[in-house]
Symmetry: C2
Subunit: 143 residues, 2 copies
Amino acid sequence: MSPTIPTPANFELHKQLAADTIEVDRWDCCRVLLMNDAAYPWLILVPQRPGVCELHKLSAEDLALTTAEIVRASEAMERLFQPVKMNVAALGNMVPQLHIHVIARFEDDPAWPQPVWGVGPAVPYGAGELAARVEALRGAFSH
Amino acid sequence: MSPTIPTPANFELHKQLAADTIEVDRWDCCRVLLMNDAAYPWLILVPQRPGVCELHKLSAEDLALTTAEIVRASEAMERLFQPVKMNVAALGNMVPQLHIHVIARFEDDPAWPQPVWGVGPAVPYGAGELAARVEALRGAFSH
């Protein structure tokens, strides 16, 4: 679970991402964050590469790592939550630091079948609920 | 420009994607479609693999091809349109066939800074405008 490639010392998580999420894990390329919104199982992967704002600006090696980590996150979410669809997106119109949303979607979630962005304010997890979800995700990642 | 890996004979483009787009090119993995919405430079890449609905269900080889093709599409759009941001997303809540949106975004586009989905009806290209855009994209791809 611990990264084999050290995080560059000058990598700093964008303050908006830090405010909206809880850190779940650190992988070879990406930091794995849980969006603090109980309405959707919603991870955010942030390649720990200072100054990178677009997927196509990652080095070929980092892009391959990031892609593998998107697959790892998607497979873990699928095992854990049995969603009807995974949504994967790198948008970044408001937070320029490259980050990839990996969201498990259900036909009874508040936004279905629309995308999740801009659909009401986030519903923060309760403390116990949050600890349980982080624990469950870590367990699914280590499968 | 012509695919080196033949498209499986049983691949059929989803009828909604066929209705909403114009084919621009066929690459090793993906069919390259232009969304018929003049409000945004908007490509859709569709891996020509029958029955695949999720990025993480592609074979490792096809996922690497698709990722490289997302980069190729993004770089061409960036050269051609100089957007402030590229948006890349695989959602598929309404059209299950795996397809990846690659959209050039601008601070004066109708949805900025929100995502483009669900913001008003598509604005179809005029005939001359459409031909010029397809031509420009093909030129940028062959760079």
